[in-house]
Every structure is written in structure tokens, then in C-alpha cells.
Amino acid sequence: MKRKRIKKTFTLLLASTTLLALMLSGCGGKSAGDVAPAGEGDTGKSASSGDAVTITHYTIDSEDRTFIEKLIPDFEAKHPNIKVKVEKAPYEQFDSKLQTMIAGGKSPDVTSHYGYGGFAEYYNKDMLLDLNDIIKEDGFKASDYNIPDDLMKIYTIKDQVYGIPVNMYVTLMLYNKDMFDAANLPYPPSDYEDKSWTFDKMVEDAKKLTHVSDDIAKTQYGVDFTWSERDMRPLYFGVEPYSQDTWTNGGVPSETHFDSPEVMATYNKLYDLIFKDKVSPTTEWSKSVAGQNGDAFVTGKLGMSIGGSWNLAGSNDFPFKVGVAAVPAGGNDKVRSVLFVDPLFILKGSKHPKEAFEWIKYLVSDEVQEKSIELSGGNPPVNTKAAEAYYKHFDGIDPADVKKVYEGAVKYGFESYNHLITNYSQINDMFINEMQPLDTGHKTVEEVMPTVQKKVMEIIKRK
């Protein structure tokens, strides 16, 4: 009996040790960025002339991204020694697949930050190839491609260029013309220089547009002010939550100020729109009316909606007349709009960086940028010449308005934080979770922000 018991204990011990060893081998170890497989060897050399080289462009499996497949025949005709393959993934799996491919030695050559992660995450995980040498050898000049220098600066860290801008979205206001007509209100202006268009004036207009009743079908709200992501919103009112060195050191803030009185005042001003002025719907109301994505504007129940210009893309299908207007002035005379510039970058694991760069140059050239507007269904080009064609793209919206809104946004814009700050997807998730009681009115800003401040510093310190 005793011998059997000893045997049993021994067996259990052995099994649990083996189990522990298995578990330990699973965690820890190198991150995807470090696992540089054998493929790294010939990154420096380009393919010998005469051999066809295949480069992979990795993007989201969605027609507004995969339209580039239609451009491939033209490109391959112009560059007979380069073949282009498009690798796709759904949005939620974009980052996982990318990390797996890189770790597995099958790194794509060209991609952009189409998933949750932003440029800063890719940069800090050491995934991006520094393009300075290629640019010098090639003689590439942004001005030749009508790309504004300001936009090139966004993805240049410490004088090294990591990304070439290809698309630029801005934050703008969409408004429901039918609702304004019914309330006999003048349309909001598209001119950023119009001094009368302020945040307070917007709230005034919103009050006239808001009718709340027990019958959901009759209820409508004046405005939905979704200006960028939660952590960036204080900037609209002129308060900076991240220290200035963030924008020059590759996205690692040394200090954050989310629990300062100034920052908390800005969040209070925004939540007052829902709870005090009552001109904005609660998130529950938006979700119940418009589904999980909660975009109530599309259902025609919202007068004004501040959001990214990708919202324009579906506007031809809306069951009401749509207009574009400038984001009102809120206290920051330098920043009123958020820029979302998507860059193309070459990954470090690429075996054919020179050929990859040819493909990038092709995509940002004048005529391809113009063609891409139609093919993609309305992606805004970064090329200023092609932009003229973009402004005309939307039925029922005056191209002059679109142009004024875009140019004003560039003049008074700042690049979105999600492209510039490290570990941003974790920061964003944390903000969404911690600030959720604010959306429902269960907690106050003063109760929530100290926790947010503590957690954000923890996340930033993580590698």
C-alpha cells in the first residue's frame, strides 16, 4: 500500500514538473521583432537584373484596400522584373497575422498600420526599415510627388524617414441638411477662418435641433462630438495630456497629465454635452438605434457629427442630404482637426527593399493617386494634385466645401495619437474600459481620471 502511494506521488510530481516546464517554454522568449530568421541575410542585396522578383503587399481584406490588385498589371508592365502579390487579412487579425509572418520568415515587404497597432508600435518593435539610404540612392523628393513636407515630417524620427504618406484622412463635421432645413437654421460654415463658428455656437445650434421624447422614432439629437480617441480629446480645448518629447523620441512620453485639473475640465465639458446640455445621445441610445458601431448619424437621428473623413465614403447612400463643415474652434487656435495620415512602410524583414520602394513610388504618383480615388470608393489621396479630383467625388456635397474643410484641417491639424504613441492599442483599450462608467453617468471624471493616469504610465513603461 505504501509503495503504491509513493509511486502515485512520484508520478504526480513528475507530471506536474513536466507540465510546468511545458508552460514555461511557452511564455517568455523573444518577441516577434527579435526573431530574425535566416531570411535576413540578403536584405542588403537587391535581386540580380533579369530575375523576376516578387514583393508582397500586406493589407486589409476589404475592397477599399484590395483595389490595388487592379493596379498591378499596369505596374508590372512598367517594371517587368517586379511581380506584386497582395496578402490580405481581416482587420481584427491583421496584427496577429503580421507578427506571425514576420516571425516565420515570410515577412511582407510593404504594408501600413491598418490594424490596431499604429506606426509608433511598429517603430518601437523595430519592425521598420529606415528609408534614408534608398531615398538617397533613388533621388526621391516628396515635392516631385506633390506630397506636402509637413506630412513627410510625421513619419520621420530623428531625421530618418520610415514611412511615405499615401492617404490622408482628416476630422470634419458632417451635418444633416434636412434637419437644419426643418429647424430653419443656417448651415454650419466650411471655412476654418469663420470666427463665429465656435464650440459654444455649435452647442447652441444643437439645442435647437434636439427633440427628446418617449417615442424613440421621434427623438433626435443635435450633435455627436467624437473628436479622435479618448486620450486625445483634451488637445481640442488646448490642453496637452502627453509631454512634448513624445513627438520627437518615437512616441514614448516621459510624463502624462491625465489627472490634472485642466485635463479633467476638458472631459467634463465633453460629458456635459450628454448629461448637462443634453444635446448628445448616450452611448446606449446610439447603440440601440444604430447597432454595435453606434453610428447614429447614419440613421438620420443626429444633426451634426464630428468624425473622421472616412465617414464621407458611404454618404452617397444616406437617406438624407449631407453637408460638410469645419470643426468649430474650441480654445486651441493651433489644432482643430485630427489628421490620419496612412504611410506605406517597408518592413525590416523584406528581402527586396529597392523593388518595394518602386511599388511605393508608383502608388503615390499623381495619376495613380487620382485613379485610386475611384477604385477605392473614395480614399483621400495625400497627393495635392490628385486631391482636386477627390473633392468632386461626393454626390450632393459642394466640392468647394470639401476642399475648404480639408485644407483647413491640414492647416489646423495634428496627427492622430494612435499613430504616434507606443503601445497605443493597449492604452486605447484601457481608456475605453476605465471611462465606460462615465458614458453611463455612473461615475464622475474626478473619480476616474487618477486611475487612468496611473495605468497609462504603467502601459508606457512596458516594452
Binding site: 513528475l14 507530471a15 507540465l19 511557452g26 511564455c27 530568421p37 476589404s62 481581416p90 516571425a103
Partner: protein, 294 residues
């Protein structure tokens, strides 16, 4: 009033069996069951109803139960929007192969674990169970490297071949079932000169209908719904499976996701699973009846 079925057939020879009474308790429980069934079926009903709505009707609030006009054309539109037929076939092929592989390998391994009391049997069994503890992200990258070196990327092989190497959960399930089979059957087989493999095939498997049916259902559903593995390994559009194709519906291309098309896809995607369950369920009942008579 209520249409309760008449009391069940009375066993003429059994004096102990009492007549089933139609009383308040039975009526109440019957009503409770009907209400619960109705609630369970409501999402299904809504799914089919949405699949027949037109695009404009999707945005209506409050949402309507029945479509205003029945858009049967949606069922044609899905084939034009996505490469639906091809993706369906791909998913089916992968699903069927996965089930075959899982059943074969798991039944063999489970038989070994159940019937052999050798040295270290428990140790190996626990080791195998411990592989269940590894989360997929932990093995995702090494597995990808393995398949990439084998040049199996962009084929169905990485999705199907691992099924032929056993699945811990299913081995566990089948092993528990096999160990309940009476030893006498196998002794009888051995006396008659059966080899072990033959005993597995002709004694153990036929008696394991319900357990095998369960494993088949689990394996099929898992493979049918799997999104991450096909995304990792497949790059050509003509090889995509249903989940991969349907995921593009919630992408940025559509400002308002085309719920009507997504529901059509879901209704069609549901059919094989319902069919499989209907077939397997028969086996379930057969199995229960068999054991009852024994």
C-alpha cells in the same frame, strides 16, 4: 383549450404502470417549455427575417419583425458579392477531412489509453491532457514556422493534417467512453482470435455511436467556425473559407455593414451543422436504446 397530447400508450401487461394524469403541473410545465422554446428560436427567426429584408429596411428603428417585401434576391446577391459558392465548398472539404482525421486518430489513441494498463499509462495520459493547457497564441508562431519550412503555406494542409494527429479533448472524451465497455466483450474477441486492431474496429467502434457522434459534431463545428487558422495560412482568395469571407462584411468598406447579406450568409452557413446534428442525433438515440436493452 390547451392541446395536451393524450396520455401515452399504456403498457397492457404492466400492472405497476399508472395512468399519466393531465393535471395543472403538466399544463404549466408544457407552457413553460413552449415559451422557452419560443425565446430560444427568436434569434433564429430574426436572422432569417433579416436575411429577407432590403437594405433600407435595416436602418429602420424600431426594427420590424417581418420584412415589408420579401427580398429573395438577397440569396442570389450573396453569390455575386462574395465568392460564396467556392468558400462554402472549401469550408466543407476542410470540415469533412477534419472530422475524418479527428475520429480516426482520437479513437485509436483513446482505445490505447483505455484498454492498456501498462507502466506509465497515467503519466502519458496526463502529459497528453496537459497539451490542452497551451493556448493557441503560444503555438501559433512555431507551428507557422514548421509549415512554412514544409512549404505548406497557402494550402489546406496546415488546416487538415493536424487533425490526423489526435486532439487532446476528443481523446479524453473517447477514452472515458471506451473504459466503460465491458472487458468480457474483448475477452471473447481475443479468444476467437481477433487482433487488437480488429477488436477496435469491430467491437469498440460500433458500440461507441453516441461518443463518436459527439466528437464528430465538436470537430466539425470547430473547423467550420475557425477564423484565425485559415487567416494565417491561406492567401489566395479562391482558397478562403466561409468565416474569412464573411469577415470582410464588417470591414471598413461598408459604412453600414450589409446585415441582410451577412444574415443570408449565416443562414446558409448554418445548414451543414444543422444537418450533421440531425444525422448524429439519430445515432444518439440509437445508442441510448441499445444500452437500454443491454
Amino acid at each position: 383549450m390547451s392541446t395536451i397530447p393524450a396520455a401515452g400508450p399504456q403498457a397492457p401487461s404492466s400492472p405497476i404502470r399508472s395512468r399519466r394524469k393531465i393535471d395543472g403541473v403538466r399544463i404549466a410545465s408544457f407552457i413553460a417549455l413552449i415559451v422557452t422554446t419560443f425565446l430560444m428560436l427568436l434569434p433564429l427567426f430574426f436572422m432569417v427575417s433579416t436575411s429577407l429584408k432590403s437594405k433600407k429596411e435595416l436602418l429602420k428603428f424600431p426594427p420590424s419583425f417581418l420584412p415589408e417585401s420579401w427580398q429573395w434576391s438577397n440569396y442570389k446577391e450573396i453569390f455575386e458579392t462574395l465568392n460564396f459558392g467556392q468558400m462554402y465548398m472549401n469550408s466543407l472539404i476542410i470540415g469533412v477531412l477534419t472530422v475524418v482525421g479527428t475520429l480516426l486518430s482520437s479513437a485509436l489513441a483513446a482505445y490505447g489509453f483505455a484498454r492498456y494498463r501498462g507502466k506509465g499509462n497515467n503519466l502519458w495520459f496526463m502529459l497528453m491532457l496537459s497539451t490542452m493547457m497551451l493556448p493557441y497564441p503560444a503555438i501559433m508562431i512555431p507551428q507557422f514556422i514548421l509549415f512554412s519550412k514544409l512549404n505548406w503555406l497557402d494550402t489546406f494542409l496546415p488546416l487538415v493534417v493536424p487533425a490526423f494527429f489526435g486532439s487532446a479533448y476528443n481523446i479524453f472524451l473517447l477514452r472515458q467512453f471506451f473504459s466503460t465497455l465491458p472487458e468480457e466483450l474483448f475477452d471473447a474477441g481475443r479468444i476467437d482470435g481477433c487482433s487488437e486492431l480488429r477488436m477496435w474496429r469491430q467491437i469498440a467502434l460500433p458500440l461507441s455511436g453516441p461518443a463518436l457522434a459527439t466528437v464528430a459534431i465538436f470537430a466539425f463545428i470547430y473547423s467550420w467556425n475557425d477564423l484565425l487558422t485559415p487567416v494565417l495560412y491561406l492567401s489566395s482568395s479562391d482558397k478562403f473559407t466561409l468565416p474569412v469571407g464573411m469577415s470582410s462584411f464588417t470591414s471598413s468598406r461598408f459604412r453600414i455593414p450589409p446585415w441582410h447579406l451577412l444574415m443570408v450568409a449565416s443562414v446558409l452557413a448554418m445548414l451543414p451543422i444543422v444537418t450533421l446534428f440531425a444525422i448524429a442525433q439519430k445515432r444518439f438515440v440509437e445508442g441510448i436504446v441499445l444500452t437500454g436493452i443491454k
